[in-house]
Symmetry: C2
Subunit: 190 residues, 2 copies
DNA sequence: CTCTAATTTCAGAAATTACTGAAATTTATG
DNA sequence: CATAAATTTCAGTAATTTCTGAAATTAGAG
């Protein structure tokens, strides 16, 4: 591996974290490299930068493409494929969320739904179903929130983040204001 | 493995998903089993239920304890250790979020901070730093939101989830109400 | 259509991770 | 403190995942 020290540290870190994030070392390293590079790289650039085999690069790029984390670019008068990551980190976040949901949450939700359709054959199964139902409810609440929020523009999303827990206070304030308004016009409503 | 069919399907699914979630099969299976069981289980119960070795159970339980996902219980006049998961799925969610943040996000944030302290030695490094800075900003916004929201009670958290994107509309409404109020008392403020 | 560059596929090797059984250690009890 | 039950450790093995090099395929230029 022959990279500027800063880039190398970043790439190595992403490689190490890869396993915790459920991707492998090479995929993590390639993503980090593409993310931090100032221009698109072709497969052979990656082979050289990371000292790994050409076929490994090919398979890892395919994996990154399956995750929609990488963009294919073409350079005039050059038949090779060049790759970058999207510029906008918020867009990257959205993609990551979408793909992880698809791979890590949706299959579980569908298993839960299926198992909750069954008629329990014993007290033990009846209890298990009750627990699965709790899990299902939680996951559905979370995904419903996600489906709602994912359409927001970056600016609105940032606003929502900055609000954080203040939202609940805001909600209280709104309730007070509304009920105040109501009291003025409809004084007899509870 | 000798379990009621429903429980078995659930356990096997968690085992399979394990790799995507960054835990191994056995750990996933044991968690699922404990989660869905109506009473605490001891190590030998798990050995029998999942047909795996006693030492594997021991190591996997240790792993689950490191994640704070499992509770150690004692039954009177029985020296064996019994295990369950917390009852409250919201509490489980909180624990999961906290542990994943600790393992998957914090180390990256600390690497980013360190690399952004360095003086870039080339134009390529300067560009890389700019990209790392974008990533850092995003992660810090997200973790700031998380730190804010994690203290909320379950009920408030559920409220926040139910609001979803409506928060931004609510915020607009509040702005209008406030500026309306201001106009009445301070008509010359822009 | 032919030639060549670029990319992909895939069988096997290498590396890593998970699992087991035996031995060691810890813990509770009389 | 001796004993037995429960649990943990760990070295070796099994299973899985990752990676490579060679061969096959695809795509572009002439």
């Amino acid at each position: 591996m022959n990279l500027p020290p800063l880039l190398q540290s970043f790439v190595l870190h992403f490689g190490e974290m890869g396993s915790r994030w459920g991707i492998n070392r090479t995929v993590g390293q390639i993503y980090a490299l593409l993310y931090a590079s100032s221009k698109p790289l072709c497969a052979d650039d990656i082979v050289e930068a990371l000292s790994i085999s050409r076929s490994n690069v090919s398979m890892s790029l395919r994996e990154l493409q399956a995750w929609n984390l990488v963009i294919l670019k073409h350079i005039p008068d050059d038949r090779r494929d060049y790759f970058t990551t999207p510029d906008d980190v918020w867009q990257i976040l959205r993609t990551l969320a979408e793909e992880r949901k698809k791979r890590e949450v949706d299959p579980t939700l569908s298993v839960l739904r299926e198992l909750l359709m069954q008629t329990p054959g014993s007290e033990e199964e009846r209890h298990a179903q009750a627990r699965l139902a709790e899990m299902q409810t939680l996951i559905e609440q979370l995904t419903k929130w996600y489906d709602d929020v994912k359409h927001l523009e970056t600016e609105q999303l940032a606003t929502l983040l900055n609000l954080g827990a203040k939202v609940t206070r805001l909600l209280d304030a709104k309730d007070r204001i509304v009920s105040l308004g109501r009291r003025r016009t409809e004084p007899k409503t509870p």
